[in-house]
């Protein structure tokens, strides 16, 4: 149990997707202008990562991994080169499903996402979740925990940035820094702060 908890914490903080690994920065910066849309993005990321990573685990280990077809008398078969395209397919379908659910039940969040929701399909952080899962040879449970953890880490980071940027609406910034400029500076500072979480990995 402690192993899973450590994995969760490390996925959320030590290897935070946007701030430590710098993955998924496009949506991270674009949707953090207002806290509501930032939190919406965080929830969507948690949902998509939490679903796609274990789903891709099943597909990878059931169909693609070396030796997955041993039961059919083909132990040498290795389809793992198809992993990338299969993962993208699963992610695209999940995002579509999420879009329909939001459209049906949360039209306000759907409107706030606009074009960024379909763009989650090609969001690097989401694909990275599945690729890390293969690379680090997680078990099914671990992959679910890892997916939820990194999604939640993304949600925490983007929520914080959204809150900071909302407060900055009252700040008298120099004109060239307004908007994306100060967002990059904030991201850099937050990234430095998150770097200190690396201690957690060592001390656990």
């Amino acid at each position: 149990m402690t192993g899973l908890w450590a994995l969760f914490l490390s996925a959320a903080f030590v290897d935070n997707m946007p701030l430590i690994l710098f993955l998924g920065l496009c949506t991270f910066l674009a949707l953090s202008k207002r806290p509501e849309s930032a939190i919406g993005l965080g929830i969507a990321m948690t949902g998509v990562l939490g679903v796609t990573v274990p789903l891709n685990w099943l597909i990878y280990h059931g169909l693609l991994a070396p030796g997955a077809w041993a039961w059919a008398g083909m132990p040498a078969l290795d389809l793992s080169y198809l992993a990338l395209i299969a993962f993208i397919g699963v992610i695209a379908a999940t995002v579509q499903l999420l879009e329909m659910l939001l459209d049906r039940f949360f039209p306000a969040i759907h409107a706030a996402f606009g074009v960024f929701l379909p763009l989650l399909t090609v969001q690097c952080a989401i694909l990275a979740g599945s690729l890390f899962m293969v690379d680090r040879a997680y078990t099914f449970t671990e992959s679910a925990v890892f997916g939820l953890g990194s999604g939640l880490g993304f949600a925490v980071a983007v929520g914080m940035l959204g809150a900071l940027r909302a407060r900055l609406a009252y700040a008298d910034l120099p004109a060239p820094l307004r908007g994306l400029g100060i967002a990059f500076v904030l991201t850099g500072l937050m990234s430095l702060g998150f770097a200190s979480f690396a201690q957690m990995a060592v001390s656990q």
């Binding site: 078969l77 299969a86 379908a93 579509q96 039209p107």
Partner: protein
């Protein structure tokens, strides 16, 4: 071999499975639902869930103007929508609608995806305009190399009143045109030859509607006067960007031809105040300003009127004698044409430069530029340059009225 076959099979089955799952879920989650839209409390229009409001209204022959073709940029399709079915304003609308309009439930019909029943308020004139009416072309003449004046005879029984600054929508039928066959006056042949516009071709396989401002003077009652500028592609891109579909078609018209039009519509009107008026126009931005100036001077208005008009060279200036005569007859009217790029043969002795620079120089000597009203019409680049100039002069945005051709 087995590996390739199995790999293909896995991917095909996976993709097919995911798509089938999504299609089934879509039917469950988003059922096709017939909706009912209440228009001005007097008409009911059917629609399907997920339709655009603009399309639903157009299908019911309610001609909401949409110069940009439903891209959410021109802002002409403003309607007031109440009810849950309209959802939240999209990000595209926030750029176009003012905070006050958004509080008043004003939406762009082209950006409103219907999710349920709703009630729509459209201007009464639009509702009674129906699908448009047939006009006969009375006369047509070239004013400048790319600008044509077109006069339509309106139907006699047409009751719609025209306010200076209004526009009408004109619908072009499917057609094909080779510009080499276009009939041009000799004066403009050289300009066309040099620019290579003779080599252009355009074809359209559907009805297309665009909005054009009226340039009618009070004495033009019963007719509609337009200044149509042929929308030519940017220089060097004649091959891949087609010329404007409706403007090209209007260049082919001859007297006696029938033109389908609807309107007039518009929000760009002279404000009923006593303040000085400054008009700034460029290109075919002439049209609504000409209508307004003639209307005001026709009333015998005591208000001071200045008109700044920018063109590239003397060939692009038109209606010059008309405005000189107006300035001669009316002590309260002055007109300043300016050329940004006079040709050597023009022998131009008037103002030279971009019209916003001329405006700044002239208004710098004015005791209170912020007390004037400003009416602008021209290409978007000119509008943004003039808006920046007016901001520097300290003019409040609510004294500035403009029409940027809805692009």
């Amino acid at each position: 071999m087995t590996e390739i076959a199995l790999g293909t099979l896995v991917i095909v089955v996976l993709v097919l499975g995911l798509s089938t799952g999504l299609v089934v879920l879509r039917q469950r989650l988003i059922p096709a639902e017939a909706l009912d839209i209440d228009v001005n409390g007097s008409r009911h229009v059917p629609a399907q869930r997920g339709d655009k409001l603009l399309d639903a209204l157009h299908n019911a022959d309610i001609p909401i103007p949409a110069a940009c073709g439903g891209k959410g940029t021109c802002g002409l399709c403003r309607v007031t929508v109440t009810g849950e079915g309209a959802g939240e304003a999209q990000a595209t609308e926030r750029g176009v609608l003012s905070p006050k309009e958004r509080r008043d439930h004003v939406r762009l019909a082209c950006q409103t995806n219907l999710r349920g029943d709703c009630a729509v308020e459209v201007p009464e004139g639009v509702l009674s305009a129906g699908g448009g009416f047939a006009c006969t072309l009375a006369s047509t003449r070239m004013l400048a190399p790319l600008i044509r004046e077109i006069v339509l005879d309106l139907p006699k029984d047409d009751p719609t009143a025209f306010h200076a600054g209004d526009f009408m929508q004109i619908t072009a039928p499917p057609y094909m045109l080779d510009f080499a066959t276009l009939n041009l006056p000799d004066a403009f042949r050289d300009a066309w030859q040099i620019a290579g516009w003779r080599d252009m071709q355009v074809a359209s396989d559907a009805e297309v509607t665009r909005a054009y401002s009226l340039a009618s003077r009070p004495e033009d009652a019963g007719t509609a006067v337009f200044n149509i500028r042929l929308a030519v592609p940017p220089a060097g891109r004649e091959g891949d960007v087609p010329p404007g579909i409706v403007s090209s078609w209007m260049f082919t018209l001859e007297p006696g031809d029938t033109v389908m039009a609807s309107g007039p519509f518009g929000e760009f009107h002279v404000q009923p105040t006593e303040r000085e008026m400054v008009y700034v126009g460029g290109g075919v931005g002439m049209a609504p300003l000409r209508a307004m100036i003639h209307q005001e001077l026709g009333h015998g208005t005591p208000r001071r009127i200045r008109y700044f008009y920018g063109a590239r060279s003397a060939a692009d200036l038109y209606y010059t004698e008309e405005f000189e005569a107006l300035a001669h007859d009316n002590a309260n009217f002055s007109w300043t044409p300016a050329l940004s790029d006079p040709a050597p043969g023009d022998r131009w002795i008037g103002a030279t430069g971009f019209i916003h620079d001329i405006l700044r120089t002239e208004m710098a000597g004015h005791p209170a530029p912020e007390d004037c009203e400003y009416y602008l019409c021209g290409p978007p680049v000119m509008i943004s340059a003039v808006l920046a100039t007016l901001e520097r002069l300290g003019v409040a945005p609510d004294s500035i009225f403009y029409d940027d051709f809805g692009t």
